[in-house]
Symmetry: C7
Subunit: 94 residues, 7 copies
């Protein structure tokens, strides 16, 4: 299992075909487009300059939109995963 | 539904035609011009370095002016939405 | 009405002709020159990293000098307005 | 009267001729050279991230040395003034 | 022995051949790819601006993924080691 | 007298000839080389973001090494002085 | 004696020949390579934004690895010394 550090998350990227199922279609435009994924694992959260740890707002199994260019790719147990920071997550899809 | 994270908002962009109705006309000038939209969803707010969460100043259904180049576009349930940070919102139109 | 967010202000720019009336004449020099305006609306102030909101030092109807290149232009109710941050205001003209 | 905001000061620049009177002569060198002036008005001071306002170290009528390229020029009541930040002031001439 | 300072770690890099054993295979893509290693030594943690020391989340002998371009190489006792910051560690492999 | 503001110091630069007397000889290398001087006046110290003033570690009449490119030159009472920040001082020569 | 300020250290650089004795051999690679040295003097430590002074983690006579491009060279009493910040020290060699 991959346990992300700090404010990092492990995310399983949702492929383009599955993406239509959840109702997200990306418009044609010059602006940055987000990507969809499912949270696999969540870190303990970042530590502020006052020394407090900030609990993440997200949890495992949530579907999220995140910045397309964020994170680091890794293959683990045959799955394509992405490790990114919670601040790269734009929204939870409920 | 899209639930934005931290200090992010989901905004429905107001088209140019509708914009004249609300009385906002943009002048011809070299300065950055704002865009008009309606808030659809509001995040829980950012966490400061002292570990406190700052409640957003805006709420759903408010009409706002925001920086034209801010945010990330996404289509959801057939609507063109924009996810941006509260700090990109210039003013509420009351 | 435009209600600015955070440490932002809405300002009505004073035209060159009116400027002479208030006694401000800009010298010929290479340095940045300020612009004059009247405050129309004031935000609630910025929130510091300790989570405290800082009350603005200015209030509506004050005449101010501000950095010429600051802010975002918007026309509202036929008036040319500027939305800028309190930190772009150099001085109040009393 | 000009009332500067935050950690800003209004300064009346001392002309080259008057400068010799106060004993400051600038050496020939490639390093940045300071300029001399008299403080006309002082702001309330900056607000730190903990929300405390820091009282300025200087007061009106003091003669100061400041960075030559700092500040914004303005003419007011026929006087050439400079609005700059207290942090641009290098030293008080006592 | 090498005792890293602050939020630094000493890591023994896992060679490509050993890497397949732990199940991590890197995909072909333009994104940054992480590297695998074993923690050899852990510093005392960074000190925040409030003066508190933040205990590291990792400990010796853990296997970790870290940013490929992070850290400083050093050979010690015939081993190829890397000294990097805890913030360069993406995840612990459990 | 020059009274420096905040974390600034007024320093009298030690000429190359006097420098040998104090035992400091600069090596031939590409790295930045420090300069030697005597502290003439010390400011009250900087104010941190928590609003506390930090007392300077140095005092008048101490000999110090400082970064060669730091500070602002000024001639005062016929002396070549340098106004720089305490953080530009590398070490006290005891 | 040189007494470094704040979070600075005075270090005596270990020459290449002596370096083999301590067991540190640097690999051939494109990554930044550290340098070895012995601590001669230690400052009082940096002051955080909350106004607390952080005691250094190192002390005189310790052997350390530090970033090759860090610090300022100075010759003192015939010794080649380097003044650098504690944050440039990667690890203590025990």
């Amino acid at each position: 299992m991959l346990k992300p550090l700090g404010d990092r998350l492990v995310i399983e990227v949702v492929k383009e075909e599955e993406k239509t199922a959840s109702g997200i279609v990306l418009p044609d435009s010059a602006k940055e487009k987000p990507q969809e994924g499912k949270i696999v694992a969540v870190g303990n959260g970042r530590v502020t300059e006052s020394g407090e740890r900030v609990s993440p707002e997200v949890k495992a199994d949530q579907k999220v939109l995140f910045s397309k260019y964020a994170g680091t790719e890794v293959k683990y147990d045959g799955k394509e995963l992405l490790i990114l920071r919670e601040s790269d997550v734009l929204a939870v899809i409920e």
